[in-house]
Amino acid sequence: METSIDWELVREIASCVFILSGAGFMLIASIGLLRFPDFYIRMSAITKGSTLGLGLILMGMAIYFNQPGILLKVLVIIAFTYITAPVAAHVIGRTAVQNGIAFWEKTNLKEFREYLTKHRLERQINQDRYTEEAPVTMEKDGGAGDVAGKV
């Protein structure tokens, strides 16, 4: 009866499974980046797919090396990626919405369009106030112009 297990082989097999699944997730994310019709859908695909794929690949490497120092570095990379990837995606998406990047024509945009019209109406109301206040006092107009330029 053979009870000794070859742990090297077990680690190699587990590491291979993790790395192949992670590379598959990154391939799916890349195909989604190339094939999806819209900027926002593309960004959703690559944010989720590449983060999960990178985490799986890093865990595969940590399983193969089997040392506490390597595991600590891998956990640092995973934590940093999981914190910063949604932040970066949110900033880029907000910038795209503010720049008016076009949506896909099949996207359901009813509530978002109501929000945008309300937003733009508020902005126009504010601009009207500035133009109404402009000829009354020249100094306040200069101050408001500086503030608007800084913002």
Binding site: M61, Y64, I77
Partner: protein, 89 residues
């Protein structure tokens, strides 16, 4: 060459195909935010290639490169987003 090394090379080849598809999107991207997200995926793919190369060569020093690269990828995408926000206002 064992099956383990062949599997790692297959993983590197898959990551290289990812880099090729991302480069196509980077070339034909209609707008600037498309290119910024493609750059984000570039950085993630390069980190994956570095990690698999570390495992292939059994050299533990390359993991620091992955740490620094993940940090600079975040800084790059944030600064590109700030740049896009500034040039259009």
């Amino acid at each position: 060459m064992s099956i383990f090394q062949i599997t790692l090379i297959v993983g590197i080849v898959m990551q290289s195909v990812c880099l090729l598809l991302t480069a196509i999107r980077f070339a034909i991207g209609p707008t600037l935010p498309d290119r910024v997200t493609a750059f984000d995926l570039f950085v993630a793919n390069v980190i994956g290639i570095i990690v698999i190369f570390t495992e292939l060569t059994n050299n533990e020093d390359f993991i620091d490169v992955a740490i620094i690269l993940s940090l600079f990828g975040f800084l790059g995408s944030i600064s590109f987003a700030y740049y896009i926000m500034r040039i259009t206002k």
